[in-house]
Structures are given as C-alpha cells and as structure tokens.
C-alpha cells in the first residue's frame, strides 16, 4: 500500500550534508575554564542578574531571573566565581549584550532543583513550575520560554503535542543522535509535557531521511500511546507552522500562534532537557550540539555547557581546516548566522556550529542579477508569499505595502534566497524590512 508521506506545500531540497557528523556518537565536552552567560539566553525580555562580581556560584545555581512573563531564568553552568558582567558579542542578536562571566574552580559542586523524582509524581502545575525554574527554553533555536508555551490561556484548548525531530537544517545531526542515544529520556520528557498539558494526542515527527531514529523512537514509545510520524525530507519541514500543517492539516492563522489551532510544538532536545530537570533536578546548564561541516577535521556531536566559547568546541572537533574555511555559522546553513570570529560563547539555542568550506559556499558568491520573475521563490515559499514582489516593496522602502502583502508572515526560512537563480538576497531584505517596520511603528524592543 502506498503511504503518503506527510509534508507541506512549497519548500526546497538543499543537500542534507548530514554525513559529516551523523555517525559521531555524543560525547561530553570537558568543563570550560570560563563561561559567558548572556542575560539574553532566551527570546523575550532580558533577564535580571542576581549575582555580582566576586560571588561564588555553584553549577545549576540561579544567577539571573526572568525579567518578565516572556523571559527565562538563567543558571550558572559551572562552579566558580563571578568575574564580571560585561558586554560580549551575542551570536544571534549580532551585537554586544551583557553576559555574566564565571571563572571555574577545580571542584564542581551542583545545586539541584528539589525534589527530583519521576514525572508521574508531579502535579500538572508543579511540572510547569519546574520547567520554568530550570530555565528551559526552546532548544530548536528560537529559545522561546517553554513554560509559557505550556501555560496556554484558558480559552485555548490544546489537543495536539508535536515533538519536533524533523531536524530539517542541513548538516546538523544533534537531534538525530539524541534520538538514537537518549530515546528513553526523550520519551519520558515527552510524557512529562503530556502530563503538564493534560492531553492525549502526541506525535513525534521525524524526517524520513533518518530511518534509524524513527525505528529507535518507535521502540522507545511502545505502549505509551505516542505516535511516530515520518515526514517527507524537505526544508523547512521542522518549521513550526509547516510541521503542524504536515501532521494535522491545521493552519496556524496569520499572526497567530500554534495554540490558536490547539497545538504545541517542542523540540526533541527540549524534551530531553525537561526530563533532566524533572527527574534529575538539573537546570538547563548544558545542551547537545553538532560541530560539523567540511571545514573541520573531526565533526562531533557534543554536550557542552552553555556559555562555552565556540573555539573551545571547535578545538575538540580537531580544529578548523584553516585553508578551506569560509565561514563559521551558529546554527545550520539555512537559518544560521555567520559570525566574524570563533571566540563567541554558545547560548541555549545553539543547536550546532557549522563550519563551511569555500567550496560549499561558492554558490552564495554568484553574481547578483536582476529578477527575471522566474517564480522559483514563489514556488519555494512555504508561507505562499510572493518574495520577489515583497523584495521590490522593501527595496523601495514601501514597508507598509510590504506588510500588507504579508511581510510579517515571513518565517525567514531562507527558501526563497536558496532557490533564486539571480542570487538575490531576498530573506536578508525581509529581515531588514521587518526591523525597520517595527522600529517605525515603535514596537522595537531592542
């Protein structure tokens, strides 16, 4: 019988390049001498520091608290002394932001969240509180505070939980490795979320280019009522709105949230972090990430403390191939951000560091030509926008018009730029236009 694979309309098929690191088992990075913990280690309002220079802190100790409803607590990721709170280059905001710098002491001492016990022994509200106290945010990259997602307003009835194991970004393999090596933990984390949301309908969604992960998760889910769904391998399959549509055919309304259609999406890494917070009492002080690409000698999947400098992780992965490297990217090649240097700390949302060679990025250097209205961007856009048209509006600073035509619906997945034969930087133009528009409307927070 022919089974129709679940997917969405639009999107592109970039080479997946997972081969570099997909077979590298997860290792644990040695503790860094110093960590740099940004007060913006989450989406939303900047956290307020609770420590000052000279304070001794333990691993897992809360060092900054949420600055508002959409914000998150921050915990020290090593045991040591607060050296300073100083500006450092933030890898995703791409500007200097305050970070708490902690110097390590030889002996590691943990401060756990109490009590640590099976998720079954927690009440619904206790679970959400634990997730908040552990500073857990969406580890897929968006870093949206998880407790907020798990506390929908009264009028939003949630009846679908999707655990996102799509990992549609090329190169990155950490979610894949987590599913292979920590399937049991991920399932427990998932069941904890299920309990927190008090729902029945749970799907773990995995792209069909990861048959091993599908098999492993199926085994781990036996008897739990959790469904595993294979998705078509297509970018951006793991984007929240596209994923919800692929699984349930529900369309998140323009400007709305997944909860508007009764859905909650959590990344597999987040599910693992929730398991650790609930059953081990561990706040979010470390995460798994891939250090991968053509430009590195020994691609790895590694669990590292938040705030570790990227160059230290790059050294663990054998170092850069100096001659070949073109760019170092926080995240994957489609949505990741190329950073100007490697001594930049990782944050809670860093799912990987992709080191691309000149050969691999050559196509980005193609000559930019005028748009010939070929329609490739229109076919690629998973939000059914007309990127070429939006770009005209943005270029001519007709921001209101661009917004009228759906600028704010753009999910910045980069499919349009990927597909454009004229090599026009469409998505870059949209990101800029959004910023300008929000600034002009006075809605800019940063």
């Amino acid at each position: 019988m022919l089974v129709k694979t679940l997917t969405f309309k639009g999107g592109v098929h970039p080479p997946d390049n997972k081969r570099f690191s997909e077979n590298a088992g997860i290792t644990v990075a040695p503790l860094p001498e110093k960590v740099y913990l940004f007060l913006d280690n989450h989406a939303g309002v900047t956290a307020k520091p609770l420590v000052k220079e000279g304070d001794k802190v333990k691993t897992g100790q809360k060092i900054a608290e949420a600055g508002g409803f959409i914000s998150a607590d921050l915990h020290s990721s090593i045991t040591g002394t607060v050296e300073s709170i100083e500006k450092n280059y933030h890898p995703t905001l791409q500007k200097p932001r305050d970070a708490i710098v902690i110097k390590r002491e030889p002996e590691e001492e943990w401060q756990y969240l109490e009590p640590a016990k099976s998720y079954k022994d927690f009440e619904k509200d206790q679970l959400v509180k634990r997730i908040k106290d552990a500073g857990i945010v969406g580890l897929g990259g968006a870093m949206f505070p998880t407790n907020v997602k798990l506390s929908p307003p009264e009028d939003k009835k949630i009846n679908l939980l999707i655990i996102n194991g799509a990992e549609c970004e090329p190169y990155l393999t950490i979610d894949y490795r987590m599913m292979l090596e920590f399937s049991g933990e991920i399932v427990k984390g998932t069941l904890a979320i299920k309990r927190a949301l008090d729902i029945e309908n749970i799907v773990i969604a995995i792209e069909n280019n990861k048959p091993e992960a599908i098999k492993k998760m199926k085994e781990a889910c036996r008897g739990t009522g959790i469904k595993i769904e294979a998705l078509k391998t297509k970018y951006p399959q793991g984007a929240e709105k596209q994923l919800i549509y692929a699984i349930s055919k529900r369309k998140v309304p323009s400007g709305g949230l997944p909860m508007d259609v009764g859905a909650v999406v959590q990344n597999v890494g987040t599910a693992y972090a929730i398991y650790e917070a609930v059953e081990k009492g561990k706040p979010l002080v470390e995460r798994g990430l891939s250090i991968t690409g053509e430009g590195i000698y020994k691609p790895i999947n590694v669990i590292a403390r938040i705030g570790t400098m990227a160059n230290e992780l790059i050294d663990i992965a054998g170092g850069l191939k100096e001659e070949e490297v073109d760019r170092v990217i926080f995240g994957g090649p489609m949505m990741g951000i190329a950073v100007p240097r490697t001594n930049i700390p990782i944050i809670k949302g860093t799912s990987g560091i992709t080191i691309m060679s000149k050969e691999a990025t050559r196509a980005t250097e193609r000559e930019t030509m005028p748009c010939i209205r070929c329609g490739s961007c229109v076919d690629a856009c998973p939000m059914f926008l007309l990127p070429f048209q939006l770009n005209l509006y943005a270029d001519n600073r007709l921001y209101d018009k661009a917004v009228e035509e759906g600028l704010l619906d753009c999910i910045e997945c980069g499919s349009c730029s990927y597909a454009c034969p004229a090599n026009i930087d469409l998505v870059k133009s949209f990101k800029l236009a959004k910023k300008v528009y929000k600034a002009m409307k006075g809605g800019a927070k940063r």
Partner: protein, 313 residues
C-alpha cells in the same frame, strides 16, 4: 584567517540566469538550424544579424549609456535576437532586421529598465515595429527550398483560395512562413528539453494551444470556411509563440491561475484576429496585448497567504 559574514542562507542553488538563457538558446537551436536548410543562407544571415545586433545594442546601452562598466552579456539579448530572427520572413533584408533588434533591445527592453523590467516581450515589439515599418517585406512569404513567392497556409484560409499543404508538411516545417515558426516538430522538441530542464511550466502553452484548438473546432463546425483546426494549430506562429514567446518569464503571470488566464486570453485574441482582423495571423499582437494585462492578472490571482484569515473589519 578571515571569516565571511555573508547573510543566510549559506547554501544556495547553483542555478543562474545565464543557465536559464542558455537552455532557451539550446531549445531554439533545432528550429534555427532547420530554417537554414529550409530557407537557405539568408536565414543564417538574419539569425546572425539579429543575435549579434541585439548583443551589441545591449552592450552599447549598458556600458556607454547606463555606465555599467562591469556588465557582461547574460544571454537574454541573444534569446531576444534569436526569437526575432525566427519570426521573420526570408524576404526581410539584413538592415531591416537590424533596425528591428535595435528597437527590440533599445526601446522595448531598456527604456523600461532592462532585464526583468520590460512589460512586453521585446522580440515581439521588434517584430510588430517591423510589420508596421516594412509591411511588404514582412508579409511576403517564400516557399521552402525553391524560394518562390507564395501564400502561407493561414493566408490561404483567410483568402479562401489556393491549395493548403499537407498536414505532414505543416508538422515537419516544409511550408512557407517565418523562418523558425514552420516546424512544429522541432519547436516541440526544443520545448520538451525546456520542460525536462524545469525551465517552463506547461500551463501557458497548454491553455493557449488548447484554446485555439477548441475555438477553431467550434468555428469549423459553424462554417468550414473558417479553416480546419489543425491548420490553425500548426500554421502561423502559434507553436513558436505559445511555446517560446508567451512563456517568457518576465512578461507572463507568476501563478498557475494567472498563467491559465493569460493563455486563454492569448488564444481567444489570436483567433479573433485570425478570423475577423485585417491580418491572417495574430499571435504577436495577442501575446503583446496579454503581456499588458500581466500586472493586473498577477494582482487578482495573488495566492492566499498560509493561514490568512479574512479580516472581519
């Protein structure tokens, strides 16, 4: 070591505008080469004059008038030149063809801003300009191989006198007409190449040719004097126009729905001109007229944004 901080995405397609243009040129080669065998060396002269003339015109405009010192030919001028040449009769002289391409590139394309900005297919504007300026040369047709003055199949239908060539000849291209339009076989061959390369969507050609087929069928049933449908499909510039000119990305609608409307409009206008107009052929005008409607068609066929909700305001 210097790290590049170019914007995401860091992976891109290796496709390019030049590759697209090159594919169109490759697709037109069979019909171009055949035209030399069918209509003689003057066909080659016309092709060379048009291609070289249009590339030089573009270089002159870009480098000298627009001051773009970096400009390198992108293939689009070659396509325009080649298409215009294929739309000419061998009765046209080289200097008339040259004036045609200068108008096509200089006015129809660059006055509006160059590549990607023109409203109308430049080759067709060049052709229509020539039709008005050199009406005799542009409407004098020669028979294949022996090059005797003769009427095209559509003119025979229009006049209602003369003998129509066999359908086989219409399909192979050994009939009178513009040098590149006569062989349906070779045009379809080139078109299949473009489709296989993913360069062209089928909506416009299918609706265009389909509309012509249906309309000519209905009119034939009303009165056989309107002409046998197959002659309307294979005769004149329909194949060249529907497969290669109406499908021009720059001047056709963006969405499938829009392309359907566009193809339908082209078909209806072509047949109205053929039946009731002063000319026996209407492909050029119909495409140009529908080109003018593209912004409007694009506006009304805009796809609905994912998750878009009707505003209740």
């Amino acid at each position: 070591m210097k790290l590049s901080v170019s914007p995401a995405p860091h992976l891109r397609t290796s496709d390019s505008v030049r590759k697209i243009m090159l594919d169109v040129i490759i697709a037109l080669l069979p019909a171009s080469v055949a035209s030399i065998f069918i209509f003689g060396l003057h066909a080659l002269v016309l092709i060379l004059v048009c291609v070289i003339g249009s590339v030089l015109t573009e270089l002159f405009i870009m480098k000298l008038l627009r001051g773009k010192k970096e400009f390198k030919p992108d293939g689009s001028a070659t396509v325009t030149g080649l298409l215009l040449a294929l739309n000419l009769s061998v009765a046209v002289s080289w200097w008339q063809a040259l004036i045609g391409v200068i108008v096509a590139i200089g006015i129809a394309k660059h006055v509006f801003g160059g590549l990607g900005r023109n409203f109308w297919n430049p080759a067709l504007i060049g052709r229509v300009f020539m039709l008005i300026s050199f009406p005799v040369a542009m409407t004098t047709w020669y028979s294949p191989f022996d090059l005797q003055t003769t009427a095209t199949p559509l003119a025979i239908i229009k006049e209602g006198s003369g003998t129509l060539p066999p359908v086989k000849d219409m399909f192979l291209g050994t009939i009178s007409g513009s040098i590149g339009e006569t062989s349906a076989l070779l045009l379809i061959l080139g078109f299949i190449y473009l489709v296989l390369r993913g360069r062209i969507k089928l909506t416009v050609p299918i609706t265009y040719i389909g509309t012509v087929a249906v309309m000519s069928g209905i009119f034939y049933l009303i009165d056989p004097a309107f002409g046998i449908p197959i002659y309307h499909i294979l005769g004149g510039g329909l194949m060249l126009g529907a497969l290669f000119m109406a499908t021009d990305m720059v001047t056709s609608p963006m969405t499938k729905k829009g392309q359907f409307i566009f193809g339908l409009g082209c078909g209806v206008i072509t047949m109205i001109i053929r039946y009731f107009g002063g000319y026996p052929e209407g492909v050029s005008y119909s495409i140009i007229i529908m080109n003018s409607f593209v912004p409007l068609i694009d506006m009304v066929t805009k796809p609905k944004i994912f998750g878009e909700v009707k505003s209740s305001a």
